[in-house]
């Protein structure tokens, strides 16, 4: 039975069901037990499973990641949450040097089943240190699995698959997806950690998108369709392992590729998709592929600058049109940039 749930509710339900299914699953992170409960995703869990299994923690990101790893080595399955991916930079030692390598370097004797949930901030002046989108760093490291769900359905299914996986899984949640709603089955189900999804079919160009940029890609595809251009939208919800076959297949069909990613341009995840398609689909590409990504500068805080900083549907659309030799779409220049720094009009800040 499917209900209409938000992304937030889907994550919470997935966590709840995993905790019910396995006494080894526990939840840890700054604020997981506080009144805000990680943007609502952990609310009610402490009441249900007790303070041993749902625990706040000291501001000690690196050690606490090590603690998660250690507990996993002896049979637990921690879910860690950080309210901003930026805070997890303090834990990269444990993530990169230990979690990612443990199973391999100790000869395959012992997996590290941990899930690390990282929130990508955006808008309302989050600024340079609270809105990075660092998936490329994690996806570069062998031994990690990296996913970025978009739909509530996938949020639940990927979360359950991540918890059940015996490896460290990095799950990046974009704040502007938390209120998105959609059908979510009641039972436990898994979305594979290594598959992309075609969200819209089309023959003229492939738009490969990650995370929140999938919504912008779908908007762009809608607009393009109105002028007769049919774009295929591939949601790259699994960054590592990446579903290269599906991407190559789509590009082989359309001959054109635009990648829309929430991260920086240089060495961002978009670079990997371009590299894969250049390697494997060169003969099919009718023109050079393109990246729609953040410019290579830190996030500026002022909403006026942020509006210019974040690419949107229009940027994707423009790129597709250019590749097809179509004239630029007519549209008005942004008026009120305050509308662009919140996920929805009801939002009254701060995060």
């Amino acid at each position: 039975m499917s209900r209409d749930l938000t992304f937030t509710q889907a994550v919470r339900e997935a966590t709840d069901q995993c905790m019910a299914a396995d006494a080894g699953v526990y939840v840890m992170g700054l604020g997981v037990t506080d009144p805000k409960g990680i943007f609502g995703t952990t609310l009610g869990l402490e009441e249900k499973y007790g303070p041993e299994r749902v625990l706040d923690m000291p501001a000690s990101e690196n050690a606490m990641t090590g603690v998660a790893i250690g507990s996993a080595l002896v049979g637990m399955r921690p879910i860690m949450a950080h309210q901003r991916v930026d805070f997890a930079i303090l834990a990269l030692d444990q993530i990169i040097n230990n979690a990612a390598k443990w199973h391999y370097m100790f000869g395959g004797q012992c997996g590290v089943p941990i899930v690390i949930r990282l929130m990508i901030g955006r808008g309302w002046g989050q600024g340079p240190q609270h809105s990075q989108s660092l998936q490329a760093i994690f996806a570069h490291i062998p031994g990690l699995k990296v996913v970025m769900p978009v739909t509530p359905h996938d949020a639940k299914g990927l979360m359950i698959a991540a918890v059940e996986d015996d490896n460290p899984v990095i799950l990046l949640e974009h704040r502007w997806l938390h209120n998105l709603h959609g059908p979510v089955p009641e039972e436990m189900y898994r979305v594979p950690l290594d598959k992309a999804a075609v969200r819209r079919e089309g023959g003229d160009a492939t738009i490969a998108a990650t995370s929140y940029m999938t919504l912008e890609a779908l908007r762009a595809a809608d607009d393009l369709s109105r002028t007769g251009i049919e774009a295929e939208v591939v949601e790259v919800r699994s960054l590592k392992p990446i579903d290269a076959d599906l991407l190559v297949e789509s590009v082989a069909k359309t001959g054109r590729l635009v990648v829309a990613d929430t991260g920086w341009r240089t060495l961002g995840f978009s670079a990997e998709i371009l590299a894969i398609c250049a390697e494997r689909a060169h003969a099919h590409l009718k023109c050079g592929p393109r990246r729609v990504a953040l410019p290579d500068i830190p996030t500026p805080t002022s909403h006026v600058l942020a509006a210019a900083y974040y690419p949107r549907a229009a940027d994707i659309e423009d790129n597709v049109r250019e590749m097809l030799g179509a004239p630029p779409a007519e549209r008005e220049r942004d008026g009120d940039t305050t509308l662009l720094d919140v996920p929805d009009p009801d939002f009254t800040g701060p995060f």
Partner: protein, 329 residues
């Protein structure tokens, strides 16, 4: 350290009143949604910023965290540049790039505030290291909350400062909470930050952050010793954040702390307590205070008007300044 005279005491009171009124003005206007960035107000914590900064010279350095307004203002940071920054304007101290969590005013030695917990601590220690290498007799003050001491970088920073006997004073504002997390979920009840600092080999002490003169006296002594070369000091002051962790509102109703606890701390207000004391002791009279308040009010209104009227940074400027232009050695 001699006790402050009437003028100095009035300055202390005025400094706290000014910060309180500025923070309240921000809180009042936040709902207008023109200050579109997270703000962590210092209301209730003014005594520490003012008491500490009163002991510093203009050339001394300070650094801070996400909750930096009081420190920035007490060190003499420009109000216009701060409000400009909150409004995201080009007149802001970062030209709108940073917002409330990234204050800076190099002209008064306020070298920067950053909101990654613990991240400004070693940087502050580094400025003191720079001063030592340069043979300057500056002192650096690093402001931070008690939650920050849970980050490993706190221990690392204190250790290096101790090793090199650097001219830095660590000022820990213990407001009990780290966001909504109480001490019980963060450390053992016997954890003792003063003992921790001492175990690293530095002087350390603890005082009442609601008593600006105690802050002044303890810090004054520490700063004098540090400047004289005694090596770093750690000072912890008890205090309380009145409003929500981030944002303009009260939040005693949401469940992580009680209204009673809040009221007990509010009763020890650093500003009104000191105001009563100075009135009682005849250091100032009501009329003078009214005058001060009016003057501060005018300053705030002018700065707010300025911030509202100022231009936003141009979109064209967005990519500028990624790199500093280098002049060579």
């Amino acid at each position: 350290m001699k006790t402050p005279g009437s003028e100095a005491r009035t300055r202390l009171l005025r400094g706290m009143m000014r910060i309180r009124l500025i923070e309240e003005a921000i809180a009042d206007r936040y709902a207008e949604q023109q200050m579109r960035c997270p703000v962590h107000l210092s209301i209730g914590q003014e005594g520490i910023a003012v008491g500490v900064c009163a002991t510093l010279r203009a050339g001394d350095y300070t650094m801070s965290t996400h909750r930096a307004h009081a420190h920035y203002l007490a060190k003499g940071g420009s109000l216009k540049a701060m409000l400009g920054e909150l409004y995201g304007k080009e007149t802001g101290c970062c030209g709108g790039r940073g917002g409330s969590m990234h204050l800076v005013d190099r002209s008064v030695g306020f070298l920067g505030a950053t909101p990654i917990v613990g991240s400004s601590l070693p940087v502050a220690v580094g400025t003191a290291f720079g001063s030592q290498l340069q043979g300057e007799d500056r002192v650096t003050v690093a402001f931070f909350g008690e939650g920050t001491t849970e980050e490993g970088v706190f221990a690392e920073s204190v250790n290096f400062a101790a090793l090199k006997r650097l001219p830095v004073v660590f000022v820990c504002e213990n407001n009990l909470y780290s966001v909504y997390s109480p001490p019980e979920v963060r450390f053992h009840p016997d954890r003792d930050r003063v003992a921790l600092a001492k175990a690293h080999g530095i002087a350390a002490g603890k005082g009442d952050g609601n008593d600006v003169e105690q802050v002044l006296a303890m810090t004054g002594e520490a700063v004098a010793a540090v400047r004289a070369g005694s090596g770093p000091a750690f000072l912890e002051f008890d205090t309380y954040r009145w409003r929500e962790h981030c944002g303009p509102n009260y939040d005693n109703d949401i469940g992580y702390r009680t209204e009673e606890e809040f009221l007990a701390w509010q009763a020890q207000c650093p500003v009104s307590g000191y105001r009563s004391l100075l009135l009682e002791q005849g250091v100032v009279d009501g009329a003078a205070l009214d005058g001060i308040e009016a003057e501060i009010g005018r300053e705030i209104e002018a700065a707010l008007a300025d911030a509202r009227q100022a231009s936003f940074p141009s979109v064209e400027s967005m990519a500028a300044d990624l790199y500093a232009e280098s002049g060579g050695l």
